[in-house]
Amino acid sequence: MTQITSLDYVVMAIYFAVVLGIGWALRRRMRTANDFLTSGRSLPPWVTGLAFLSANLGAQEVIGMGASGAKYGLATAHFYWIGAIPAMLFVGIFMMPFYYGSKARSVPEYLRLRFDEKTRTLNAIAFAAMTVFSSGVSMYAMGKLLNLLLGWDFDTSVMISAGIVLAYVLLGGLTSAIYNEVLQFFMIVFGFAPLVWIGLKNVGGWSGMTAKLATAATARGLPEYAYTNVWQGMGSAATNSIGIEWFGMVMGLGFVLSFGYWCTDFLVVQRAMAADSMTAARRTPLIAAVPKMLFPFLVIVPGMIALAMGDHVIPAKLTAAGTPLMDSLGHVVLDYDLATPMMLVKLFPTGMLGLGLTALIASFMAGMAGNVTAFNTVWTYDIYQAHLKPNGSDDHYLWMGRVATVGGIALSVAAAYVAGAFNNIMEFLQLVFAFVNAPLFATFALGMFWKRSTGHGAFWGLVAGTVAPAIHHGISLAAGAVPGVKGGYFGAFLRYPSEMAQTFWTAIAAFATCFVVTIVVSLLTAPRSDAELEGLVYSLTPKPVDDVRHWYQKPSVFALAVLAGMVLLNVLFF
């Protein structure tokens, strides 16, 4: 266990004081329910852009990406360079005009405007459950980690971090959450950049790391480039570290999961909807895409360095009895989630350690606050106002928003105590997203770009698209897994080389089912008139006019530049 000194605590205390101070400074601005829940559409794009990124910088990003970096190497960057970036550009250029232009206050509310009440309610309930769950997983991970690293009491860590998030969200609502997310973004960048620098220095620079990882790859029966290249070896599941072939990767991760998450998840879209103009809203995900593109070097590389430094850095996963866990072949199972935290502890002296730990805790809190602010809006507008009390006063909904904030955090704490069966948080979250998010992109894409799609079509498409992945998961099993929470509960009819492959194909099943069922049911039911769909469907909406002075300030030009950067990164690390 690491001894941290009072200096480290001082660094942490200063950060938390500023976080709470921002909430305190904003408290007088929370006059209406919209101020509290949607920031009254008032924020500049650089703020919403960094918050868009930061809201996703929770546990699954910093810890999970480090874990995957140690487990799969640079191939994890697929989550960025074929996953997130194209989806972020798509939502900014093509989808934001409808989210922002329709004046909807949430993503489920867009579904009501475009389709009907039942589709919105289905999405709202699924989303609310997912946010609470994600937030709980994040809290659990943090409590466990701080206990392991610093010997802090699990309950105390959970209660204190939940208390701080509760305080600043209650005081300043979404604006406070967004402002703090921007702060957290810089904390994470400045806390982890020196880790990468010192880490690389330790293993002999990038070339030293490549050489060491080549040895590690060969030792595990993989080609020597497996940990340091993204595309080589993707021709077959046997020649890459993730255990999936390129088609499942591009379709499952690049198309279905990433578009499902970045284009429809209210947690991130909410940040763009808080922007002060249409152009600002469209720029939000584009601005976020620039740092996002470089994040693999910040969050994945520490895990790769941990792997390159040798076996002693990543500790073994322990059984309940405290002995190292063994797999079926008698090898020790490593606790990859500890790769990044162990790097912090091993490489940073006191002082810097405080900064690094603060950055880590900041990342957990960013994720938690993001989930809570999305939850309270969806609960208040899409569940409470829609079904429980339709004609309340604005003051009443402001009050409800605050109650929902407290309730959401209380439920997350409860979820934190339930979470914890998977050895890799990110795969667990990806699995949840596969059930809930994967079919969503089919619904939104058809809703926005095919005016013939109907409410009944969307609803039954979503239902079928959520049942399908559950069935697929139930009949498939990854190599080495036992039937149960990892799938195969209806019998292992389909075998996948890795859990990641199973997850991606589960997502593909969800998307394809939702897409087909929505189209078939839509064609069998009555469409809405064109007049009703104006502003909600691509072909019936005037193209947005960019209020910019020069051609190079246009969102589309910006998006092309980001796309070129993404292609370059894929080529450089091919």
Partner: protein, 77 residues
């Protein structure tokens, strides 16, 4: 209302990093004679180096915020 008119976020960010940077720099200078402390960080006095980096970033952020405030005052807003 524009978000920056009532509260320029660059101020708290800048001040936070100035303060953290100053603490790390002072501590880095104080411990500069203790090479054993910096063995794990590949021999780099990371507190000193990174403290200076944070101060630089803090200055840029507060500088941008101050410039924006002065422009607003000049325009009489």
């Amino acid at each position: 209302m524009s978000g920056s008119a009532e509260m320029d976020l660059r101020f708290p960010i800048g001040l936070l990093f100035l303060l953290l940077g100053a603490i790390l720099t002072v501590f880095g200078v104080m411990t500069n004679t203790d090479p054993a402390m910096y063995l794990p960080s590949a021999g780099v006095n990371i507190n000193l180096v990174w403290g200076i980096v944070l101060i630089g970033f803090g200055l840029v952020m507060t500088g941008l915020a101050l410039r924006a405030t002065m422009r607003r005052t000049r325009r009489g807003v």
